[in-house]
Subunit: 356 residues, 2 copies
C-alpha cells in the first residue's frame, strides 16, 4: 500500500527525469493521482509505462511550447506541440477559464496532443472559479458505429462539472460506451465473460468474450444494439470526435494516433495528433452565483431523495462514487498489483529514481 | 394524404385564430411541419390538439413578450413569457446566433417556456450561418434515475447540427432514453410488447409492457440497466435538465410543468415554466470555414465507408434517416391517421378554419 503523496512525488520525479519542467511534471503527477483517487485506476499508475515507452521512442515532446494559434473573444485553438496530454490539456482548460472571465464562456479546441488521463480532472478545474467545466477527448479507435464492424471511434468520454453550495458538486465523467476499455482487460485477466452488449465479433455478431478485440472484434457504443439506442451512443461518440478533432485540426476517428508505443505510428494522418475540447461557463453569466449554487443544492437534494428501486440502497448523484472512493483512498492508501509495481520499479531503476 | 404546404398553411391558420401574430404562427407551423418531414410525427400534427387545449385552458400565452433578462458577451438568459414553446425557442436560438457573430460562440438559457417541438429544428438554424447549433430541453418527468423508481426527468433530448460542404450536414437529435415516449404509445395501440430495457414497473423490476407508465412504472435512461451503462444515460439526462432549467431559472426535473392540459398544473414550482438551452458556435471561431466544412466532408465520407456488419446494408451518418424521410414525404405527402384527422377537424370547426 502506498500513500497518495508518495506516488505523487514518485510520478513527478519520473517525468522530471524524462526532461519535463518541474511545473509540467507536477501537473502530470497531479492528473495521474487524481485518476487513482477517483477510482479510475485504468488511467492511473498503470499508464505511466505507456508514457515512458512513448518518450523512449521519441514519440512525445517533454519540452513543449503549448500555444494559442487562433482565437475569438470566447474561443481558442491550441497547438499542444505533441506534449504529454496532461500538459496540453491543463493549459487549454486554463485558457478556456480565462476566456470565460471576460466573455462569459470560453471554448478551446486542442490539437497535436496525446492521451491526457481522466477528462473529469479538467472539467473540475472550473469549479474553483464558480464555473461549469466541460471536457471531451477523442481516443484510439476501438468502437464501431451502429450497423458496422469497423473500429472508427474511441471510448470518447464526456465530462461535465457543475458547482453547488453546501452539497458536493455534480461531476459526470463517462465514456460514450457501456464500459471503459480497461474493464474488458480486467475481465479477460480474470477469465470471465462479459455481458452481451459490450462487444461484438469481427462479423458484428453479439459476443461476451472480453478478448474479442484481439480477433477483429470491436466495442459497441452506449445503448449496445440498435433496439436499445446504440445509434444515440454513436451520435455522442461522433460529436465528441468532431468537437475534439475537426474543431481543433487534430486526427479524427480511425486516424487518432496510438497512445502506446507498441503500436506503430499510423501511415495516414488527417490532422495533428490527438484532439481535445474544453469549455468553461461562468455561472454568473446566467444566474447570480449564489442563487445558482443553492439551486444546484436543491437539484441534488431532490434527486438524492428519489425512491430507490427494490433491492437498491440509495440513488446516486453523478460524482458520488468517485468522491467516496477518494475519501477511502486518502484514508487507506493506494494498492498496486505486483505487475504494475514491477513496471514502476523497472522504470525507476532505468531512469534513476527510488521506488518502493 | 396531405401536402406539406397544405398542412403548413392549416397549422398557421389555427395558431393565427388562437391569437398568435402572423410571424409567430408561421414559426409554430414551420416547426410542426419540420417534425412531420423529419419522421418525428410524434412531435408533429398529433400535438396540435395539446397546444389548442392548453390555450383553451388559458395556460399558454399567444401574445408573449420574449426577452433577454440577463447577458454577457457570449451568453443570455431569455424569459419566454409562457409563449408557445416554438416562439420562445426560435427567438432564443436567434439570440445565440447573434451572440456568436461577435463573441465566437453564443449560449442562451430560456425559462418560462413550453413544449417546443423537435430540438433538431433549432440546432439546424445555425447551419445557414456556418455555425454549429446545439439545443437541449427538459420535459415532463417520466424517466427514473439509475437505481430509482421515481420519475424525475424527461426524455431530455440533445440536438447537435454541424455544417459540411458537399455532404449533407451532420444532424444528431435524440432523446437520452433508449426510445422516445411516443414509441411506447404506438406499441400499446398495436397491442405489442416492447423490448426489455425501455421501462420498469413501479417496484423497479424489468418490464416489457408499453402501458406500464399508467401503473406507476417509469422509463429508463439510455443504457437501460446499470450493467449496460444506464448511469451514463442518467448523467446525460441530468446535464440536459440542469443546463435547461438551473441555468435559466426554469423548473427542473420532477417540477417541469405538464405539456398537456389534461394534467393539472403542479402545486410546487422551483422556477418558471419549462427550460431550454441553445448554443451557436461560429465554425471560423475555430478553423477557416472552408477548411472546416471540407474536413467535415472527409469525416462523413470516412464514416460512410465503414464496413457494414453481417446482414446490414450500410452505415448511417447522423441525419441520414431524417433526410431520406424528408425527401420521401415532400414527394409523397403526409398521411394522418383517422384519429388525428378527427382531432384536427374538430379544432378547425371550433376555431373557424377550413380543413380537409
Amino acid at each position: 500500500m502506498y500513500t497518495y503523496s508518495y506516488l505523487l512525488d514518485f510520478t513527478k520525479q519520473v517525468f522530471g527525469k524524462m526532461g519535463c519542467s518541474e511545473k509540467d511534471a507536477e501537473i502530470i503527477a497531479d492528473v495521474f493521482l487524481a485518476a487513482e483517487l477517483r477510482g479510475h485506476a485504468s488511467h492511473g499508475m498503470i499508464r505511466i509505462k505507456d508514457y515512458y515507452e512513448l518518450w523512449k521512442a521519441g514519440r512525445i515532446n517533454v519540452k513543449p511550447d503549448v500555444k494559442v494559434v487562433h482565437e475569438t473573444p470566447s474561443t481558442a485553438v491550441v497547438d499542444g506541440d505533441n506534449a504529454v496530454g496532461m500538459v496540453a490539456a491543463r493549459r487549454s482548460m486554463e485558457i478556456a477559464i480565462e476566456k470565460a472571465v471576460t466573455a462569459g464562456t470560453g471554448w478551446v479546441a486542442t490539437n497535436n496532443s496525446n492521451h491526457f488521463g481522466i477528462a473529469g480532472y479538467y472539467s473540475m478545474m472550473a469549479l474553483r472559479k464558480d464555473m461549469i467545466g466541460i471536457c471531451l477527448t477523442n481516443a484510439n479507435p476501438l468502437v464501431a458505429p451502429t450497423f458496422s464492424i469497423s473500429r472508427m471511434m474511441g471510448t470518447n468520454p464526456i465530462a461535465v462539472a457543475i458547482p453547488s453550495l453546501k452539497q458536493p458538486p455534480f461531476v459526470a465523467d463517462f465514456a460514450t460506451t457501456p464500459i471503459a476499455r480497461g474493464k474488458l482487460a480486467v475481465s479477460e485477466k480474470k477469465g470471465e465473460k462479459v455481458p452481451f452488449g459490450y462487444v461484438q465479433d469481427k462479423s458484428g455478431n453479439p459476443s461476451n468474450d472480453p478478448a474479442i478485440l484481439k480477433s477483429g472484434g470491436s466495442m459497441l457504443t452506449l445503448g449496445g444494439d440498435r433496439i436499445h439506442g446504440s445509434h444515440k451512443g454513436y451520435c455522442l461518440s461522433a460529436i465528441v470526435d468532431i468537437f475534439s478533432a475537426v474543431f481543433s485540426g487534430a486526427n479524427f476517428g480511425p486516424f487518432v494516433p496510438p497512445s502506446v508505443a507498441y503500436l506503430p505510428v499510423l501511415d495516414k494522418k488527417v490532422g495533428k495528433g490527438t484532439g481535445h475540447f474544453f469549455g468553461a461557463m461562468r455561472i454568473d453569466a446566467f444566474q447570480p452565483a449564489g442563487e445558482f449554487k443553492s439551486k444546484m443544492d436543491e437539484w441534488i437534494e431532490t434527486f438524492r431523495s428519489a425512491i430507490p428501486a427494490a433491492g437498491q440502497e440509495k440513488v446516486l448523484i453523478p460524482g458520488d462514487p468517485e468522491r467516496e472512493c477518494e475519501e477511502r483512498i486518502m484514508r487507506e492508501g493506494i494498492s498496486l498489483v505486483p505487475a504494475i509495481e514491477k513496471d514502476l520499479r523497472d522504470i525507476a531503476s532505468a531512469i534513476g529514481v527510488p521506488f518502493g
